[in-house]
Symmetry: C2
Subunit: 360 residues, 2 copies
C-alpha cells in the first residue's frame, strides 16, 4: 500500500505526522509513504524518526515509471497549510498548492497511490476529497465514520459524523451499508448491529427524515438494523454502528468527547482543592491514568471518509505520533479487507431488491 | 399560585410527587395544590408527607365558586396513567380521563389554575399542552428549555430540547427570545449570552436552517447573540442559552447526561476492581459525593415548556421528592417574574423591527 501523509494542518505538524508514519511503516513492511509539506522540515523529522536511515535517502516524488518500483519514502514540497479557521470551499479553490490539495491531486492522478492521511482542516478535506476523488459507483455522498470506545470495552462507529448536513433517507441507508462493511472489514465486527440516532426508541419517533428512513433501513439487505437509538445509549455497548445525518452525528460525537473531557478536568481540579483528595488520588493514580487512556481518542485512530474510490483518513487536529500511526494502520486494514468491493456488493443487493419491489 | 401536580406517569408515582409538592408548599405559603391521580393513593401519600394534617383534610376538587377561596389542597380522581411507551398522539386522543389529560383540562378551563407539573410521558405532555393550552400571542411553537450545570459552577439552558423536530429559522429566533426572558426572570441571568448550536463556530457553518437563522439571531432585539457554538462547549460556562431544533437539542442534552453518568459508573466499577483504589476512594469519598450531586439532574428542576399562556413543567421520569419540589419552585419563579409579559414585549420589539425593515 502506498499512502500519502499530509504533514501540515494538524497542531503538531511534522513532529507527529512524520514519526507516526515511520512507526507504522516499520511495523508493516508492505507500506510505502509519500509526505507532502515543507521538504526541509520533513527531512529533518525523518532524520529524527529514523536516525539509522534504514529506508535510505528519501526521494523527491516523481511520476511513477512503468515497471519501476516506487521508493519506500518520497517527498512532495508543498509548504502551504490550510487552517481550520479558513472557509473550506474557498481554501480548496485558492490553495491548490497546499500540502493537503497536492496530496489529494496525487491520490487521484497516481495509480500507485492508495490512501491519504491528513490531520488538517476537516471541512477542506471533505470538499477536496468529494471533488477530487471519484465515488464508489452508486454512492451519493461520502460520509465520515469515526470509532468511539464503549463502556463495555468494545467500539461503536458513527456514520455520518459531519460530512453531510442536508441529507435524504436514501443516504442514511447508504451510510448504514458503508459503515457495516467498514466495521466488518477493518475491525472484524460480525453482523454489526445498526441503530438510527433518534429522539426516542419507538419506530414512529423523529422528524420526517427519520420516519422515512426507518422502514428503508429495516428492508435493506446486508444491514442488521436493530431500531432507533437514544443518544444517551451511544456508549452502552448495545450498538455497533449509529447512522445519522452529519449535523446530528457531529453533535453526538463532539458532545460525548466534550463531556467526558470536561468531567475528567473537573475531577482533576477538585482533587487539587484538598490535600486529602490528593492523597486518595495517589492511590488511584493507575486507575485515573487508565481512564484517561480509555478516553484518549488518539487510541482509536482517525475518522475515515467512506464511499470514495480511494482511502481518505482524517486524524484529529491534535493527533500525536501514535494517533497518526493508528490512522495509517486503519487505512491498511481498509485496503486489506477490500472494503469497496464489499460496499459495491451490498449496493448491488440493495438495487436488486429495489428492482424486485418495483416490479412487484 | 395554584398548581396542578400530575401524580402518575413518573417512575415513583405518588411517593415522589405528593411529598415533593407538600415540601414546596410548606416553603412557599403562596402555593396551593391540586393533585390528579388515584385518590386513595394520593390521600395515603398526603398522610405520610404531612402527618400533622397542617393543611386540613384534603378536598375533592370542585369548580371554583365566585368569591370563594379555593382549598390549599384538592384532589382529582383520575387513576389512569400515560406511559412513556405509548404513542403520544394516540394516548392524548384515547386517555382523556388520565391524570395528565385531566390536569391539562383543568389548567385550560379553571382560571384559578396557573401551572402544571408532570413527570409523565414527555411526548404526551407536549401534544396535550400544545393542543390544550393557548400559546402566548405570536409564538409559533412552544419549546422545552431544560437547565444544565456548567463546569464553572453556573447554568446553561437549551431551547428547544425536544418539543419540535421540524422547524424554521423564525422559530429559532423565538426560542432565543423565550429562553432569554426565562433565564433572566427565573434565574436572574443578566443579558443571557445566546449561542446557536452548530457544527463549527464560523458564521457560515451548518445546514440551510442554521445559515438562515444566523443573521436573524444577530438582528433580533432582546437577544444577546454571541454566534455559533460547538456541542463540546456546552458545559464550558461561555454560554447561557443554546438555541437549536428539538432533534439536535435532544441529542445534545441526552448525550451530555448519558456520557457523564456512564463515565461515573465506569469509575465506580473500576474502583471496586482493586483494594488500593478502594482505599484511595475512601479519602476522596466527599469529592465523589459532590461530583455525583453536581451531575444529579434532580437538583436542576424540570424542563419548562415555554410559549404557553400557562406554565407547564416536565420533571424527569425518575424525579424524586426533591426534584418535584424544584419543579414546583421553578413554576413559582416563572410566575413571579411575569415571564409571559416579558416574552410578549420582546416579540413586539421584534415585530416593530421587522415592520421597519419591510418599510425601508
Amino acid at each position: 500500500m502506498r499512502l500519502i501523509i499530509d504533514t501540515l494542518g494538524g497542531d503538531r505538524g511534522c513532529a507527529a505526522t512524520v514519526p507516526g508514519g515511520i512507526a507504522a511503516m516499520k511495523a508493516h513492511p508492505e507500506i510505502s509513504l509519500i509526505f507532502t509539506g515543507n521538504e526541509a522540515d520533513i527531512r529533518a523529522a525523518l532524520r529524527a524518526a529514523d536516525p539509522s536511515g534504514s529506508f535510505g535517502e528519501p526521494a523527491v516524488y516523481t511520476v511513477p515509471e512503468e515497471g519501476k518500483q516506487p521508493p519506500r519514502i518520497a517527498i512532495v514540497h508543498a509548504p502551504e497549510a490550510i487552517s481550520g479557521e479558513e472557509k473550506p470551499s474557498l481554501a480548496v479553490r485558492e490553495k491548490t498548492e497546499s500540502s493537503m490539495l497536492r496530496g489529494i491531486q496525487l491520490l487521484r492522478s497516481d495509480p500507485t497511490c492508495d490512501a491519504l492521511v491528513s490531520t488538517g482542516s476537516t471541512g477542506a478535506l471533505v470538499v477536496a476529497s468529494t471533488i477530487g476523488i471519484p465515488r464508489v459507483r452508486g454512492i451519493r455522498r461520502p460520509a465520515f465514520c469515526p470509532i468511539l470506545p464503549t463502556m463495555t470495552g468494545g467500539i461503536v462507529g458513527v456514520c455520518d459524523s459531519g460530512a453531510n448536513v442536508d441529507i435524504t433517507p436514501q443516504m442514511l441507508v447508504q451510510f448504514a451499508i458503508m459503515g457495516s462493511r467498514y466495521l466488518e472489514g477493518a475491525f472484524g465486527v460480525r453482523n454489526p448491529r445498526v441503530a438510527l440516532l433518534n429522539i426516542g426508541t419507538e419506530s414512529e419517533k423523529g422528524d420526517a427524515l427519520r420516519k422515512a428512513a426507518y422502514p428503508m433501513l429495516q428492508a435493506a439487505p446486508g444491514v442488521n438494523f436493530v431500531g432507533n437509538m437514544e443518544s444517551r445509549d451511544l456508549l452502552s455497548g448495545n450498538y455497533d454502528l449509529i447512522v445519522c445525518d452529519g449535523f446530528a452525528g457531529n453533535i453526538l460525537v463532539k458532545t460525548t468527547e466534550g463531556t467526558a473531557l470536561e468531567l475528567l478536568r473537573k475531577i482533576k481540579k477538585d482533587i487539587y482543592s484538598r490535600r486529602i483528595y490528593q492523597l486518595g488520588a495517589f492511590f488511584m493514580r493507575k486507575m485515573f491514568a487508565e481512564q484517561k487512556e480509555f478516553l484518549n481518542y488518539q487510541n482509536y485512530g482517525g475518522s475515515v471518509l467512506l464511499g470514495l474510490d480511494k482511502i481518505v483518513v482524517k486524524g484529529h487536529g491534535s493527533s500525536d505520533e501514535k494517533a497518526v500511526a493508528r490512522c495509517v494502520e486503519q487505512a491498511l486494514a481498509m485496503q486489506q479487507s477490500n472494503l469497496n468491493d464489499r460496499i459495491k456488493a451490498s449496493l448491488e443487493a440493495l438495487k436488486a431488491l429495489e428492482k424486485t419491489t418495483e416490479e412487484a
